[in-house]
Symmetry: C2
Subunit: 219 residues, 2 copies
């Protein structure tokens, strides 16, 4: 019975890693589509989001069945409940990557990245890709140094988000209303992406250390 | 044992209603602060969000303890898991109300609502208040007509969100970059508020009817 339970817990962990890899691909492609104006790449991100939603459904169902059939307590139960939360965050990260891809597609054949904000958006793309690849690694290794790196990426995203908005209200900005709208939303999507990555990392830190103090994150 | 369990399930339901009432107050005050430029009212919404976060923590803890101690199965287990999801959505709705209040505060003593968008934002405030008060009622009554009304409010918010963006890119719009930024975000906050209300309503519909088909909502 315990062996079966352990095998199922291990499959649950693998499902979360599969979801995180999907998110990593989505944000990598969405970022590249945004920076290069590649509409076909944007389209693949948008088309593939449904697969992530499906994975989330499977994880949720597995969690409920595991609780019902195995009646876990203690750390096992907390791991399953955390998995439910993590799958919701990963699904949301996929949605945000999709929104970024939609921005790239909407702007095509123009670029959604005006020169005034190119450097900032390049920074956001890089930080979001880092956060996504570290999320995969954290779920694989539960290495707390990786969790700390995700928090640092999120700090970086917050700082860039703030710079993006300051550059809009700065007197020298000359973007059109459409550009301003796109930038406002893009910066927001990246900032939220970082928040969700931190949410995932805090749940893993809690499972590893039992420290719940960072868990009032807004995810 | 069963009597105790039923009492605890009833307390869990009461906690969710308390959270929903908190959200209703927050969105009502945030909307009024936004439309009237009342900075003190905005401040109360911002200050009181911590209480909602605390309620979410209590609900989550209660859910985990209920599962660990009572080992529920079937509908009871699904109700508890749904309660975890609903508390996350309600907490997020509170955050969005807080963001709306922050917009009102940031713009003060000017208004965050330019004349070009007053009617649209009045409509969004009204629809969001409706959705919040119906969310309370749905949790109290589990009346499926109320769930349908929430979906209709969300449709209304989506349409207004789309109108808000169209009015920005319409050639006759003359708002400043700061106004455009504020409007882009405000419209997004209201639109997400509606999404989360629909997320709550779908979980209740599922518990009442067993129909899970609407549950791939993006919450």
């Amino acid at each position: 019975m315990r062996t079966l339970f352990n095998a199922e817990m291990s499959e649950l962990a693998d499902d979360l890693i599969a979801m995180a890899r999907h998110v990593e691909t989505a944000i990598t492609h969405a970022s590249d589509a945004l920076l290069t104006g590649n509409v076909e790449l944007a389209q693949t991100v948008i088309a593939e989001d449904a697969a992530l939603d499906e994975l989330e459904g499977l994880v949720d169902e597995r969690c409920v069945l595991l609780i019902a059939q195995q009646q876990p307590v203690g750390l096992d139960l907390r791991t399953i409940i955390s998995s439910l939360r993590i799958s919701a965050s990963l699904e949301r990260m996929g949605d945000l990557a999709q929104h970024i891809a939609e921005s790239a597609r909407r702007a095509y054949p123009a670029s959604a990245v005006p020169e005034s904000h190119r450097e900032i958006l390049e920074g956001m793309c890089a930080a979001a890709k880092e956060a996504a690849s570290e999320t995969v690694r954290l779920l694989e290794t539960r290495d707390l140094n990786v969790a700390a790196a995700i928090v640092s990426d999120d700090d970086n995203l917050d700082a860039l988000h703030s710079r993006a908005y300051k550059a809009i209200i700065d007197g020298s900005y000359t973007g059109s209303p459409q550009e301003t709208l796109d930038l406002a939303l893009l910066a927001r999507y990246f900032e939220r992406f970082g928040d969700h990555a931190v949410g995932v990392s805090r749940r893993i830190v809690y499972l590893v250390t039992g420290d719940h103090s960072g868990d009032r994150s807004k995810i």
